[in-house]
Symmetry: C3
Subunit: 329 residues, 3 copies
């Protein structure tokens, strides 16, 4: 990618302010950007960097108060999504792997579509259905009878157990394990009997699953992840969990068995959800919270156990003053 | 599997109540079950589903109060373990992988038994001892000199470092790492010197280890997991830890170095155990607890740091009323 | 290894006290050591084991108060680092894998140095630069254009995405994922648009990365881990994080996006760092702490949210007495 600020502005429907002929070749954070690099300010908190940045061009809001002469701005409606759009353009121009590398293992009854990528040492079981344009990187394992939708990308070293269903346009990162046995045991004598986990995992379209994240298969029926939901790395989704649409879960969060989560929730890192509870829609749950009970809609929760985020803040203030309270006469 | 309610009842030593000739072909949760499906009610909390279930047959307790006509029940002593038994029967009738797929790597001095499964791209080092009936799925790595007992199943993408010992009838799920170096460093100058981890991991019989769980090798001696203990996904077991028999650890729990844990403990998800402590038998430790010190037997603990579970509950009540306390004159 | 106490003492510049001719062949913990085994006492807390140990030789401090006749001591300046030194000697005498095992995949433009090890089923992309003496174990994936320094060891099943840079003398344990996409999405309609992650991960010299740990690539620029820093297992390092020199992070800790961490910090297990914060040097942060805000230097922190460790301890005392406070008239 090599273009001028003028060409860039045309591409993103923005207004140039400054040198429209400056040449651009890459992206950088505002505090690290140098000549030829594009950067952005989306959050007013970082506005002061305009004074010092060495970037060639800064994407800013239409009403950004420029306090520095000589810097080239491109004003757009939403600098962050404009940046995302530009990064996508740059990304899509990268060469993509294709074809079937040898040796790989393709089981009986599995027919790779002509435009797929299957990396060396990939293992694809029997009767697997692969959609158009799928990419399966080296060292991935796709169990018998699994269905993978079109344009889905399975990065290297992903393990998908038998019989699972992955939608279209998904990305599954390295080391993720989909469909391992749920954790189910019945007490028996002085130990435990394994309860076979005979269900599956079903993942809808446009889901992204982070590195080393685990989604266990259901005891029976399915563990489900709804359309457009994004899971970060090292997350645990236990058996029989059902997650709705467009949720975002940060890293290392765990969801215990049979819990149902609605749509459009935002969940911080290292959160724990108890099993067999129901969580509604559009909640914001702070990092490291513990959710022991049902949650409605549109809550802001924090703490262990989680309470309203304002109550959590108030309690922290009180805790710091307990000393004073104990010393009252 | 295809059988009638009468045949099913005979199989599990139960009493049919209703249509003994109804045909059955699978299992489902009570709220999702349809025609031809078997379900169960073990917990009275879910008893009300009897009114609405579409299941062909419901496994219930001998004294379950049936409030609905026309539904077919099978009364048994323990519906949950009966279900587990039936799922096992169904599971055991599934075809199992066998033979040695090519290409795989089998090191010098390693002799696979005739009735094993070794998947393509599995790497088995030198002088590895494999028991009768072991299954080693694709992309698993078994380091030199490791011993794996009979009928143990190593799912795809498991990494076992050199010299470890895995018992009989174990299941190790994808992505688990057994025997990586413990985390040991000695301060040296302005940094750290690595302390070589020369011990092993030893896992007793009938242990199940979840996906992406890590069990580190000892500095010297062994890290040990006792008979019948079950570890869920994404758990950390540090070097020199010793865990006894028939414990159950839920996902994302971590056990720091040299800690000793007894028998029959039940540990929730995301719990942390400090290093160099001793935990007794039959404790129940709630999710996200932090265990900084020794624990005796038969405790119910919760919190960070963990306290008696009732005390934790009381403290939570007080915390919600701190406001009131601060406002007292 | 087989030597006498006299030879051992000469090797470590120590003084024998007792039978200098006793023969030694291995190491063990003091409470488990038997004939022919070397053990150590570094912490006075374990000094009492001198009464009961069966070890042939005990490494102790120069001023260790020996209370038992007939045991052989070797007095050294620092028993723990002496032990580390001895373990290294023993380790270095073990046979090391070398050569290139087949089948493996080596992409166009990648030239393995003559003294490397590349295991069977390793996948090395195009234009990868491998330093002298690197070891790449089976099932590891090294993406196109990655640079790996000399003597670095990549254990089995490590996944390194394209374009990353790994320094000299690093160890990366099985299942670690380096360079997967950072977790970046822009709200779009009723869902999210992926923000391509176009940066890299750069890891300096002498870094050790634990099993199943994840270090995500930057949105642009780099995610950075400084010289001599050690990460335990199952850690999450999010995109654009920068970590300085000689830090030690225990297992299951998570660091959210764009956070900057200085040098020589010691961080316990299951700690969470918020995103976009700055942490200074030489802090000690207790297990399971939550760090929501900037941290200076030389702090001892504990709790969720983290406070000074002494304040945390005091608050715990007060919490246990809340009952009493509520019952005051």
């Amino acid at each position: 990618m090599e273009l001028t600020a003028r060409e860039l502005a045309a591409l993103v429907d923005g207004q140039v302010e400054g040198d429209a002929d400056v040449k651009l070749h890459g992206f950088a954070k505002i505090e690290e950007a140098g000549p030829g690099e594009i950067t952005f300010i989306a959050n007013p908190k970082y506005g002061h960097y305009i004074e010092t940045t060495q970037a060639a061009v800064v994407l800013v809001n239409e009403d950004f108060p420029n306090t520095r002469e000589g810097v080239t701005l491109i004003r757009v409606k939403d600098p962050y999504s404009t940046l995302a759009h530009l990064l996508k353009l740059a990304e899509s121009s990268k060469p993509q792997p294709k074809g079937i590398e040898q040796p790989c293992h393709i089981g009986e009854g599995t027919e790779p579509p002509s435009n797929c990528y299957i990396g060396a040492f990939a293992y694809i079981g029997k009767g697997v259905s692969l959609g158009e344009g799928v990419k399966i990187y080296p060292h991935s394992y796709i169990g018998d009878g699994t269905i993978i939708g079109r344009n889905t990308v399975i990065r290297s070293g992903v393990q998908i157990y038998e019989g699972c269903r992955i939608g279209n346009d998904c990305i599954i990162h390295s080391g993720a394990v989909i469909g391992a046995d749920g954790f189910g045991f019945a007490p028996a004598g002085s130990g435990y009997d394994k309860i076979p986990q005979t269900g599956i995992v079903e993942i809808a379209d446009n889901v992204e699953i982070g590195a080393n994240t685990c989604v266990d298969r259901a005891t029976f029926g399915r563990t489900y992840i709804g359309e457009g939901t994004k899971l970060d790395n090292l997350i645990q989704v236990a058996h029989n969990v059902s997650i709705g649409k467009a949720n975002v879960f940060a890293s290392q969060t765990g969801i215990a068995g049979s819990t149902k989560i609605g749509d459009m929730n935002m969940v911080g890192g290292q959160v724990g959800f108890a099993g067999h509870i129901t969580v509604g829609d559009r909640n914001a749950i702070g990092a490291q919270s513990g959710i022991p009970n049902n949650v409605g809609d549109d809550k802001r929760l924090l703490g262990y156990p989680a309470v309203d985020a304002r109550q959590f803040a108030r309690t922290q203030v009180y805790l710091k003053k307990l000393n004073e309270l104990f010393n009252r006469k």
